[in-house]
Amino acid sequence: MANALVNVPARARRGEIIEIKTLISHPMETGYRRTQLGGRIPRDIIRQFVCTYNGTEVFRAELHPAIAANPFFVFSTVATESGTLTFQWTGDNGFSAAETTTISVD
């Protein structure tokens, strides 16, 4: 259901700082909006995003309703070794999505 897009360079030189872009489709319902009948729409957001590089956490974001729909993040990490990058989003109503990519470092 969740559509996640991750952009990581396929290869990098050792020690290079690489830029990572992630985008996931999610309404990020704030919990402050109301329907036309006045009922409050319950909150449904992604609370946390974690990026790990070969098992080591490199970046984490704790989110609140003020993050726009379809959370988009650009951050960076040092290319230390070839391996996998794992991205995980978790949120309200048991939301969970994960994505992995590989990078080769020479």
Partner: protein, 154 residues
């Protein structure tokens, strides 16, 4: 409050003018600068927050408060001895003062992150950088929002 009321009236007029005919029910729920202070205190504790070192980039004028691009960075060598542990973002007038907390390690290479946020009003956004030596640094940016987030009907 005056400014808000007139904008609300304007929005209602605009909606009616477009023939949407929707009744926009707006509850004046928003945080106050005082609440932002409290939220910041909760993060920094009793530590001093000094202006500087943090660079907060936001457009000075945003047409759509539902998605405002934000880039924040902190100058740091990012070594295990001296790195940025976290960057926290706060707003004065959103329903909640917290926006996000970004946590880094020395492996991040640079303390820089971009995302898109919601702004419910024309207001000032504050970024607080938390360094590994326990010091806190801050930067602020003022954004004028023409179309506020959180107002539309579902």
């Amino acid at each position: 409050m005056d400014r808000e009321t007139s904008r609300r009236a304007f929005l209602m007029g605009a909606a009616a003018g477009l023939g949407l005919g929707a009744v926009i029910t707006v509850v004046p729920v928003h945080a106050t600068p005082k609440e932002m202070e409290d939220a910041i205190r909760k993060v920094v504790g009793s530590a001093r927050v000094t202006k500087g070192r943090v660079k907060l980039e936001l457009p000075p004028l945003s047409e759509n408060g539902n998605t405002v691009p934000l880039t924040v960075s902190v100058e740091s060598p990012m070594t295990s001895a001296d790195h940025v542990k976290a960057i926290h973002i706060f707003t004065e007038l959103n329903p909640q003062p917290d926006v996000a907390s970004f946590r880094f390690g020395p492996r991040a290479g640079q303390a820089r992150v971009s995302t898109r946020i919601r702004l419910a009003n024309t207001q000032t956004v504050t970024a607080i950088g938390e360094l590994s030596d326990g010091s806190f640094w801050s930067a602020t940016a003022a954004v004028v929002v023409t179309l506020a987030a959180c107002l539309e009907d579902a």
